[in-house]
């Protein structure tokens, strides 16, 4: 598991030095095994190994390095988006607009650049601002109205889904944006967002590396910064967090804007990979992000989870979606398989948490 290693440095801090001398006497030291189980991503890691072994045995093409590159690519496109969604979930909220927000971001850059014949970088910057604005709007509306995020982002999901189609049709008369492949700055942007890196004769998409770097950054953010502490606190007990002086509003809005940032990045990758954007894409992906985060051990109700877990969750997603193809099965089984994985992950997480909090 490359990705586990990548973010390992920022993982669990060393256990505190056992205080010499007096002890309460009633609490026994929690065993190493139990402490390990208390990590949110352990269940997912076990599942990932299981799925890997399964497809390694069942699908011979799965064993090739190029297949691994494909699996990792699949996982990374989803995983980059899963990270901010997971952070938001640890902070106690959902974002159902995350799937279509990716398409919105890509469309913004594509249509703006094409219609005004600008350097694509202008479109990229404007798309970034638009994505952050969508996130900020979600967060602001949530704070202002006090409505559940499920409802607020369901609204913005529908707004974005409709606007994606309608606005695209206004400008192109079509459901897809015009190709921007011959525009100024395209090649440069493509090399940033959608290039490939060859290692040992195998081409790895650059998103894989971004994914791992972002995961390491997210882990650092969660476990090593004030803001990370606040994320856990607003998700675990919002009122308590506010009472001890945590800026709850800032934290939540920032988390929603983080989802916007992720949507922008993935949107740019898709745009510069395919030169054009289908305006109806992205619907349903928001659930895949949430599923990957849950499989990765993030608590649906907030306050618990990690950034490494969602990486493993997305990797499982990539393995399953590609593994079914390599095993020559009907790809229709993919969703069914994913559903089983989700239920199993939820059960494992439940069991793990009981083990961890039991004394």
């Amino acid at each position: 598991m490359t990705m586990t290693q990548a973010s390992a440095p920022a993982a669990e801090p060393a256990p505190p030095d056992s205080p010499a001398g007096r002890k309460d006497g009633r609490a026994t030291e929690r065993s190493v095994a139990r402490r390990l189980l208390a990590r949110p991503e352990v269940g997912a890691l076990i599942a990932a190994v299981g799925v890997y072994v399964f497809f390694f045995a069942a699908a011979p093409p799965f064993r090739e390095a190029s297949s691994l590159a494909t699996v990792l690519y699949q996982a990374s496109v989803m995983g980059i988006m899963t990270l901010p969604v997971a952070l938001l979930m640890i902070g106690g909220e959902f974002d159902l607009s995350a799937g279509v927000a990716v398409t919105t971001s890509a469309l913004t850059a594509a249509i703006l650049s094409y219609q005004l014949t600008l350097n694509v970088w202008t479109g990229v910057i404007v798309a970034l601002i638009a994505s952050l604005a969508v996130g900020a709007f979600n967060g602001w509306l949530l704070i202002k109205t006090g409505l559940p995020s499920f409802l607020v982002t369901l609204g913005s999901f529908l707004i974005l889904q409709g606007a994606n189609l309608a606005v695209t049709k206004i400008f192109t008369g079509n459901v897809a944006s015009d190709s921007i492949s011959d525009m100024d700055g395209f090649d440069q942007a493509k090399s940033v967002f959608a290039s490939e890196i060859s290692i040992g004769g195998v081409n790895f998409k650059i998103t894989i590396f971004y994914w791992l770097v972002f995961a390491a950054l997210a882990t650092w953010l969660l476990l090593r910064t004030k803001f990370g502490n606040w994320i856990f606190a607003v998700g675990g007990n919002q009122d308590s967090a506010r009472a001890v002086g945590v800026p709850v509003k800032f934290t939540k809005i920032a988390l929603f804007m983080g989802v916007g940032l992720g949507a922008w990045f993935v949107g740019m990758h898709l745009l510069f990979s395919f030169n054009t954007v289908q305006s109806g894409e992205g619907v349903g992906n928001e659930f895949l992000y949430i599923i990957a985060a849950v499989i990765g051990g993030c608590l649906l109700t907030g306050g618990y989870g990690s950034a490494v877990g969602p990486v493993i969750g997305a990797f499982i997603f990539g393995m399953v979606s590609q593994g079914i193809v390599y095993a020559n099965w009907n790809p229709d089984w993919f969703k069914a398989f994913l559903g089983v994985m989700l239920l199993l992950a939820a059960l494992v997480n439940l069991w793990v948490r009981r083990q961890a909090t039991r004394r």
Binding site: P16, P19, E29, T225, A233, N237, S240, V246, T357
Partner: protein, 341 residues
């Protein structure tokens, strides 16, 4: 009821002659709070001085929570004045109250159950190190400090990494108090810290309240247990229906009087009369109204208002002004020897 209103008025003046002449850290003057057209708190005077425990007692719904929410910055008062160090303030967030040294230990303890003890200890006031882009939590120092502070309060935890939700109620309470003390609180507000605890754990918490007081903190101790209050309190304020029913220094009141007052005071007498109408209920052994009057209800400035209103308030056949003044000046006997026939 009239006597209560008078008690409030004179109680306000009684605050001033409380022992300890240090300037109040926190003072409420005729403060009140309305939620829409519901008046949750009205005309409350309260002073908190360094090295003193001010107890706020009251039944459920008496306005205790509203009172501490104003002082801790969760809500704003809608009438009267709220002074910190003699300066009128109006906090819009708990952060502002914390910055002025007012720390609150809430009933639900304001902890996040799934977070480790040390993260909870420093939540909202995390220690960091390093320059901005790589500014990070100083985990070693936080763990060390948390451990030291907890040990100083006599709490020894084997593993600061364990979720705080796995600690017992008393332990969590003590962590919360230790946290407030560590963060330089000058005024510590404790919201029913002993409410959910057993006898022994309550004792531990009371010990920490006394320890905090001896460190020179002003403590506001919210409770509805008069015995706990009397063990550590220097000044007692009883709230009822959003108004101050009693405000008395420790020297002016006994634990029996406090208990009676908490138990409902005048309301119990009224209930007794209602019960007397019902055949078969023996009211002979129930305390008289006079017994449940408290000194603060008798004005210290010597006007006969208190006695007069008491007479008018009680059912005239029962209470004479003599009984009232006698009881208020003297001991609080649970069952009065001088029952009027």
């Amino acid at each position: 009821m009239t006597s209560n209103d008078n008690g409030t008025a004179s109680g306000g003046t009684a605050v001033k002659d409380a022992p300890g002449n240090a300037a109040p850290l926190v003072e409420l003057r005729a403060a009140g709070k309305s939620y829409g057209n519901v008046r949750a708190l009205h005309g409350v005077d309260l002073a908190v001085r360094p090295g003193q425990v001010t107890c706020v007692l009251g039944d459920n719904g008496a306005g205790k929570s509203t009172l501490i929410k104003i002082v801790s910055g969760l809500h704003q008062h809608t009438e009267g004045e709220f002074l910190v160090d003699g300066e009128a303030v109006r906090f819009s967030t708990p952060r502002e109250a914390l910055d002025r040294g007012i720390a609150t230990v809430y009933q639900d303890l304001a902890t996040v159950p799934l977070m480790p003890v040390w993260r909870n200890f420093f939540l909202g006031s995390e220690l960091t190190k390093g320059p901005w882009p790589v500014r990070r939590l100083d985990i070693e120092r936080m763990k060390k400090t948390a451990d030291e502070e907890l040990r100083a309060m006599g709490i020894v935890l084997d593993d600061l990494e364990q979720p705080i939700g796995t600690l017992s109620g008393g332990q969590r309470q003590c962590v919360a108090i230790a946290r407030a003390v560590h963060f330089g609180a000058r005024v510590l507000i404790l919201d029913e810290p002993t409410a959910a605890l057993g006898v022994k754990q309550s004792g531990v918490v009371l010990k920490y309240i006394a320890a905090a007081r001896d460190r020179g903190l002003g403590v506001i101790f919210i409770t509805h247990n008069p015995h706990h209050a009397y063990m550590v309190g220097d000044h007692f304020s009883v709230l009822r229906l959003g108004t101050l029913e009693l405000s008395a220094a420790r020297s002016e009141i006994t634990v029996e009087e406090l208990t009676n007052h908490m138990a409902g005071g005048a309301e119990l007498t009224a209930l007794k009369h209602e019960l007397a109408q019902v055949r078969g209920v023996d009211v002979e052994e129930l305390p008289e109204e006079g017994d449940v009057q408290v000194p603060a209800a008798t004005p210290s400035d010597g006007t006969p208002d208190g006695t007069a209103s008491e007479t008018s308030s009680g059912t005239a056949s029962e209470t004479s002004s003599g009984t009232a003044s006698e009881t208020s000046s003297g001991t609080a006997s649970e069952t009065s020897s001088e029952k009027t026939p």
